[in-house]
């Protein structure tokens, strides 16, 4: 189209546009049996963008504050045109995003894409995963319904069990000793300001690093390609890979729309801080494996409180997992096998404990 050519020329005169996007045009994506796993990062990013858009739309009507939050969500669901759609998409996309983030992370582990030189990419990615779970935890409280209220209460209570800093951390999160309207205001601030700014920054870092290092080739394929370069297959990012990515995004959109229309997110009942906790309080599914583990640890392990042991164990596991690349330097066989084993164990454990958490009474 001539308009586009004119636009390009205009930008080029001022920003050397052609030079800027030159490298992007050359960007390639390796093509092999496991190429499909490359889509997961992009899908997660797409879902995050959906969250930002639907989140901003929800902000037009949502009111934070114990007296108004529930009613404003009810207003969105019942009175605002297509409010039900925006809200349900936001809730479903949140869950899907965390799922794809986990899947993306595990695919990186099993395809060993965290190896040198991509350690910082892994690090930024892990931080993004933690931020995503923070988004989930803070956002869950915002409708101020009974389930959310008590799930937050239990969740922050567990945080309070961390030795030394636990209580201060809990008070910081709750905005006080108990979960109150102050907690809601605080979580709202985290959810719409603090976390988005941190996440945007980290995403830019993450993407820049991915761009800089290019796509990693899985360990099974790499040596073969190094040996006979003619076998190496790749496709251009623009437009080939991007078009495929677009297909994936459209599929995600279709799934989201179907979920929103057929399984709308429920409203629940307004939280009453003075009512007793209803039976069967559970966190969201992505916290379930930790929750179930804590439930199953005996009250005391040696002389230490069982819950503290659990929290410290998960903390340690998270820390070690974040530092994963540093255990697999120079591709030494033992480190690699250990990480593969740990990866399989982690996936199995998370799946099993999540299912257990839902099936158990």
């Amino acid at each position: 189209m001539r308009l586009l050519t004119h636009l390009r020329a205009w930008l080029d005169e001022r920003f050397h546009w052609a030079e800027l996007i030159g490298p992007l045009k050359e960007k390639t994506v390796p093509v092999h049996k496991l190429s499909h796993w490359y889509f997961l990062g992009g899908i997660t990013l797409f879902l995050f963008m959906i969250q930002v858009c639907t989140g901003i739309l929800l902000l037009l009507y949502y009111r934070p504050g114990a007296n108004e939050a529930f009613e404003s969500v009810q207003y969105i669901m019942t009175r605002v045109q297509f409010g039900w759609l925006i809200r349900s998409i936001h809730s479903w996309a949140a869950n899907l995003m965390i799922f794809t983030a986990f899947a993306h992370m595990f695919s990186v582990v099993f395809l060993r894409a965290y190896r040198k030189p991509r350690e910082l990419t892994w690090l930024s990615g892990m931080l993004l995963l933690f931020l995503a779970m923070g988004f989930g935890f803070s956002g869950y409280l915002l409708p101020w319904n009974t389930l959310a209220f008590f799930a937050t209460k239990v969740g922050t209570e567990i945080t309070g069990q961390v030795p030394l800093i636990g209580h201060s951390l809990m008070v910081f999160l709750r905005g006080g000793e108990d979960v109150t309207g102050a907690t809601l205001t605080r979580f709202f601030g985290f959810h719409v300001a603090v976390l988005p700014s941190l996440t945007t920054l980290l995403i830019l870092v993450h993407l820049a690093l991915v761009q800089y290092f290019g796509m990693s080739v899985p360990p099974g394929v790499e040596p073969r390609w190094k040996g006979s370069p003619s076998e190496a297959r790749e496709m251009k990012f623009f437009p080939n890979f991007l078009l495929r990515e677009l297909m994936a995004w459209y599929i995600a959109l279709g799934i989201l729309g179907a979920l929103a229309a057929i399984l709308p997110w429920e409203l629940g009942t307004k939280a009453d801080p003075f009512a007793p906790a209803p039976a069967g309080i559970r966190p969201e599914w992505y916290f379930m494996f930790m929750f179930q583990t804590l439930k199953k640890i005996p009250a005391k392990v040696w002389f230490v409180d069982g819950e503290v042991v659990g929290i410290l164990a998960f903390g340690l596991a998270g820390l070690l997992w974040t530092l994963l690349p540093f255990f697999d330097q120079a591709g030494r066989g033992r480190g690699r096998r250990f990480i593969m084993g740990a990866g399989v164990f982690a996936v199995t454990y998370i799946l099993a404990m999540t299912i257990y958490g839902y099936v158990a009474k």
Binding site: R244, Y250, G257, A258, A260, A261
Partner: protein, 420 residues
């Protein structure tokens, strides 16, 4: 002084006296030596300190001697001195007068609790228990039978035998005992029947302390059955609307003339079950047909009222059903649910209006309810229509998405010239 200091024996004696004096001063405040012995005896002479400590009379500063006489400051058998007025065991026939000695004395009772009534003895004398008692029957209930004696608690205490929660149990101790009640000519199934009643459920299951128990209808100190002509007065204390309707109805005059006890004819007295629409029917629970003949004007009126009630009940149920379907599809119908509450209120009101035995009045309430139920049904239908509209919209979106996916796939194939 010199002699005392030097004399060891004198010092010991002095100490002993001091101790005795101190003990004497200490004991004089709650001097109740009776418990020293009676706490260790076996029943029926046993009264322990623990038991007596829960007694309201003891808590107000009274001792055994206030009823039994004697001298509680003396130790051992000296306490039971006839000279000090010791009466020994109080006979049942003397209990009312003994209790009344204080409890009927307004001036005296004012010292302890000015708002307590002081007419219990007078009321008792009017009761069936009191009247039989005056004739010399000592089997009947006297004060201590219901209130207890040495661990007597105020009625507000949930452990008291006369607390509303426990009253029926207390009455049943005699009134359910067929052996004991032989010769009085009244049934002994009241407690059993009451246990099946909706009033009993209200108290024990719902915890509603305002629910009627024996004393609510029969009175407590002046206990007597209301009598055929007064049953309506008793029930109307709470069931005001039913009473108003009944008072103006044809049945009031008819039942009065026939000497029938109003409400009890259809509802029973002790075993008052939760009334259902079956009462208006023709089955085992039907009450109208006990008097009326099938096919007569009243039977027709009955049939009409029943049909009306069932019609509204059905309308409410169908609206509920559609609202549930809408809710489970994710639609928000809280406003219609509120309307359903009002429709149910109309049904309740219609059931009360039955007591006027006028079909047009019942019809009015039914119509009001039907209007609301119809509105809620419509709201449910609208919700389902909205749901279908959403699904259609989804279908359109999904179709568009499919076209895009197809287009993309073809386009990719095209620019890559063959399979990927």
């Amino acid at each position: 002084m010199d002699t005392l200091r030097n004399n060891g024996l004198s010092r010991t004696l002095f100490l002993l006296l001091a101790i005795l004096a101190w003990a004497g001063v200490a004991d004089a405040q709650t001097q109740n030596s009776c418990l020293d012995c009676h706490g260790a005896l076996d029943p029926p002479l046993q009264v322990t300190e623990q038991q007596f400590a829960s007694d309201i009379h003891f808590q107000k500063g009274l001792t055994c001697a206030n009823c039994h006489g004697g001298d509680p400051t003396k130790a051992d058998m000296d306490a039971m001195s006839k000279a000090a007025g010791f009466r020994g065991k109080i006979e049942r026939k003397d209990a009312p007068e003994l209790c009344g000695r204080c409890h009927s004395d307004g001036t005296f009772m004012r010292k302890y609790n000015p708002s307590l009534r002081t007419d219990q003895l007078a009321q008792y004398k009017t009761s069936v228990h009191g009247q039989l008692f005056a004739k010399g029957d000592t089997k009947v209930a006297v004060c201590i039978d219901c209130h207890g004696v040495h661990d007597l608690r105020p009625a507000t205490d949930t452990r008291s035998k006369v607390n509303p929660l426990n009253v029926a149990q207390t009455c049943s101790r005699c009134h359910s005992n067929a052996e004991y009640m032989k010769g009085y000519g009244i049934p002994t199934d009241q407690f059993a029947k009451y246990g099946t009643s909706v009033h009993h459920d209200a108290m024990t299951v719902r915890g509603d302390l305002s629910a009627p128990t024996c004393t609510t209808c029969h009175g407590n100190h002046g206990a007597a059955p209301p009598g055929v002509s007064l049953v309506q007065n008793v029930c109307s204390t709470c069931h005001v609307f039913q009473d108003e309707m009944y008072e103006k109805s044809s049945h009031k005059a008819a039942f009065q003339a026939a000497g029938l006890p109003g409400c009890v004819v259809c509802h029973g007295n002790h075993g008052i079950s939760h009334p259902t629409d079956a009462k208006l029917g023709t089955g085992s629970e039907a009450v109208c047909m006990q008097c009326h003949s099938p096919g007569d004007a009243c039977d027709q009126a009955r049939a009409k009222m029943l049909a009306d009630l069932l019609r509204l009940d059905d309308a409410i149920k169908s609206a509920n059903q559609i609202l549930s379907v809408a809710e489970s599809s994710g639609m928000e119908v809280s406003e219609a649910r509120l309307g359903q509450d009002q429709a149910r209120d109309s049904l309740t009101k219609a059931r009360v209006t039955i007591h006027s035995f006028q079909t047009d009045l019942v019809e009015q309430d039914i119509q009001a309810g039907l209007k609301i139920a119809a509105k809620d049904l419509q709201a449910g239908k609208d919700a389902l229509r909205e749901r279908d509209y959403r699904r259609m919209g989804l279908g359109v979106s999904v179709a568009a998405i499919f076209i895009v996916l197809l287009g993309l796939r073809l386009y990719i194939r095209q620019i890559e010239g063959g399979s990927k």
